[in-house]
């Protein structure tokens, strides 16, 4: 692959538009000089070398790039990094600080919740926030009566709530089992 050198004019134009932003990633403050058009996903992968977060479709269709923003799941491919200053971003690298796997990561291995593993970081971040949404009482499209407060943490609910994360290997049965086993006792004691 040959590298095309940029013209001086082009470089000047580019550097003119570079801005400095500060992001909170996995509890660490990181300062970046980037163009406003850099997505949070590219900032993580290409600028901070946190490659655990994956780029799948880059258009909001697959969920591989899912990260947490103040604990809520978002798609980092549709997020401009500059928009996320001052908000707490957690990636797959930041789920555990003890050196041990997060319980859901361990259960994904136990339940065969993956084959190629490319969608896995997104699946795991998504599931952790999904359970938080559930605890906060958020209904879903399969909830029979949205006006009722109590919702059963069922396979049907998990299936619907995880539909934003695709798995081309089709490990869905294992993914559902891992989520159910990890969180069932916690969500429905």
């Amino acid at each position: 692959m040959t590298h095309q050198p940029r013209s001086v004019a082009d470089q000047a134009e580019r550097s003119a538009s570079t801005i400095q932003i500060t992001l909170e990633i996995n509890g660490v403050t990181r300062t970046l000089d980037i163009e406003p058009r850099v997505s949070l996903l590219d900032a993580l992968r290409e600028h901070l070398y946190l490659t655990g977060t994956k780029k799948g479709c880059n258009q909001g269709a697959c969920g591989a790039c899912t990260v947490l923003c103040n604990g809520e799941r978002i798609l980092s491919c549709l997020a401009l990094a500059a928009q996320y200053e001052g908000l707490e971003i957690t990636t797959i690298e930041g789920l555990s600080t003890t050196g041990e796997l997060h319980p859901l990561q361990a259960e994904f291995m136990e339940q065969d919740g993956l084959q190629c593993g490319y969608c896995t970081p997104g699946q795991i971040c998504s599931a952790i926030s999904m359970v938080r949404e559930f605890r906060n009482g958020l209904p879903s499209a399969v909830t029979r009566d949205v006006s009722e407060a109590a919702i059963e943490f069922s396979e049907e609910e998990i299936r619907e709530r995880m539909s934003g994360n695709l798995c081309r290997c089709g490990a869905y049965v294992g993914i559902r089992a891992a989520i159910l086993r990890t969180f069932q006792s916690e969500v429905m004691p």
Binding site: S17, S39, G60, E72, I74, L75, L78, T143, S147
Partner: protein, 330 residues
């Protein structure tokens, strides 16, 4: 993606000043539609004014309705107790749209302003009067399974993709906007435009005007309302057809009815013709069928989407029956 400048507004006044300072500036909400369109070069703003940090919340209005700030995230609106209890169709409509991740990002104002998902609009190599006025429409004779059967024109048959907006149409919401000339309100059902000869004009929102909130009037009978969505897969897909409906029945007669359709028209489609038939009529299958027929009398298919006419007819009847039965068997 073309380069642009980014600025974050702290107040709506500041947002209006910032947007007026650049010829080709746009407001940025959650970015779930705009960032994607910019990556495809369909949208090419020179400047983005981030309005997501403006103070915004959900509150009960003095009249018993609710006021929803434009920067409220879709998931927050769907989960609000007042919405879940008083306007269940709105909560459901949001939950039937997109995915958990996108609902956490998308703002209410951005959802209203989202653009069509017509494949030809997204494809720079295709003819599209909405993207490139005067170039033609490749959808009319193309693969138009997802396209409109109501309100389309010879220039454009694209549909409005929002679920949330279908409920807002049924609920007769009001859009509050702020612009260089001050504040004004726009009835939700007059906010989006039909394509006619100018499919590039999608709303009546003025240049440099900002949506600040959505107002919902009290509507006691909306407690008994629902949203139903038909799509090609069970979750995370745009609507082929959707329906938001509310029904009030008293002594076997329909006292109040609200009906709106999604996925079948260039704008969230309030079914006024069907409502005319329903109001005051005897509750029952004959009435429901007549209502559906009245609404669909002007429907027109473009080959691949012909199925939507019969699908709409049957689903309108089915939804009305379900609502009527929720008060006891027919």
């Amino acid at each position: 993606m073309k380069d642009f400048t980014y600025s974050r507004a702290r107040t709506s006044q500041e947002a209006l000043t910032l947007v007026a300072a650049r010829a080709n500036a746009k407001f940025l909400g959650g970015g779930t539609n705009l960032v994607d369109l910019m990556r495809e070069n369909i949208e090419q703003p020179d400047a983005l004014i981030d309005v997501t940090r403006l103070a915004s919340g959900i509150s009960e209005s003095p009249d018993g309705g609710i006021s929803v700030g434009a920067e409220v995230r879709n998931s927050a609106l769907a989960n609000h107790p007042l919405v879940r209890q008083r306007y269940p169709m709105l909560s459901q409509a949001i939950l039937f749209g997109a995915s958990g991740q996108i609902r956490n990002m998308a703002t209410v104002g951005g959802n209203i302003m989202q653009r069509t998902r017509c494949y030809y609009f997204y494809d720079e190599a295709a003819k599209c009067n909405k993207r490139n006025p005067g170039s033609g429409c490749d959808a009319i004779d193309g693969f138009n399974r997802i396209h409109a059967i109501l309100g389309a024109s010879e220039q454009c048959i694209a549909t409005h993709p929002s679920d949330m907006c279908v409920a807002l149409a049924a609920l007769d919401a009001t859009v509050r906007v702020q612009g260089p000339e001050g504040e004004r309100t726009i009835p939700f059902n007059a906010f989006h435009c039909l394509p006619g000869d100018t499919p590039q004009v999608e709303t009546v929102l003025g240049f440099h005007e900002l949506i600040t909130s959505i107002e919902l009037s009290p509507l006691p009978f909306a407690k008994r309302s629902l949203y139903r969505k038909i799509r090609d897969r069970a979750s995370y897909a745009f609507a082929l057809l959707s329906i938001a409906a509310a029904l009030e029945v008293e002594n076997g007669k329909i006292r109040n009815a609200r009906l709106a359709l999604g996925g079948v028209a260039p704008k969230p489609w309030r079914a006024y013709e069907a409502e005319k038939v329903l109001l005051g009529a005897e509750v029952g299958m004959n009435t429901f069928r007549q209502a559906a027929d009245a609404e669909l009398s002007k429907a027109r298919g473009y080959h691949h989407n012909n199925f939507k006419i019969e699908l709409a007819r049957r689903t309108i009847v089915s939804v009305l029956r379900e609502l009527a039965q929720s008060g006891g068997p027919l």
